[in-house]
Symmetry: C2
Amino acid sequence: MKLSVKAKYGLSACIQLAENYQKGNLTVSQLSTKAGTSEKFLEQIMAMLKKAEIVTSTRGAFGGYTLTKSPKDTTVGEILRCLEDNLQIVDCLTNDCKCETPCQSFVVWQNLHDSINNCLDSISLYSLTKGDLNG
Amino acid sequence: MKLSVKAKYGLSACIQLAENYQKGNLTVSQLSTKAGTSEKFLEQIMAMLKKAEIVTSTRGAFGGYTLTKSPKDTTVGEILRCLEDNLQIVDCLTNDCKCETPCQSFVVWQNLHDSINNCLDSISLYSLTKGDLNG
DNA sequence: ATAAAATCCCAGTAAAATAATCGGAATTAG
DNA sequence: CTAATTCCGATTATTTTACTGGGATTTTAT
């Protein structure tokens, strides 16, 4: 139940992009410095975010990354689902449950899954840049 | 962000103890069979639950485990905190936060941590044995 | 055309965490 | 005394995470 550093670095990068929204690209080099990791590692993370269409890239000189949608329309939930295997804390919920029959814990995992997603979906990047969750 | 099998097996064992509450002990052998793991592995998990005083043990022949408190007073939150490193999804929250300054993600981890704990603390073992979270 | 700046792609490796396994000591009931 | 059981500590195997590295491709500027 630990969050991966991919999630931390990736969210950090997205917050930076939110702060730079409509002010042009940020490069992996710039993003990685502030996120506190290597370019090569953040590169992989940006590839995941791009595949999920959370960020949009421009190749070549003067290229870089931008948010695909506005910070108000981009949630932490989307970002972490992209970087944390869809936030599936147990496999039971998508695959068939292979636990004991009947699996009396199932309802726990369902509730927990919903709690986590509801929480994170309610936080937009915009609210984080304002330091106010209701902003 | 995956739940460990320790948490799954441990919760399964606790549910079994809840169903057997005030009907005597259950042995590791009995618990492990239904939980679907080995005796030796569940032994370790029961030791953790004992240390957290969630279960009480009786040694020797005809020994085994019982719940320390009633199923109504034992929550899934307690159990998973015991088996999942206190449900600390990031280290920032207890240690000093070593992320970028200022760490704009901090509020996310706080919210998530609270959501998870509130969710799990609201589920008692009793409600699980009844298959009704409001029971 | 060339060079520089950037993303993109794929492969490999090192470290850490997880999931066990193993052997045997201590305790208790009968 | 014996059998059933928890308790204790060490070791090992497997999987996941966290990186590192090389180089191809794309784009802009000169």
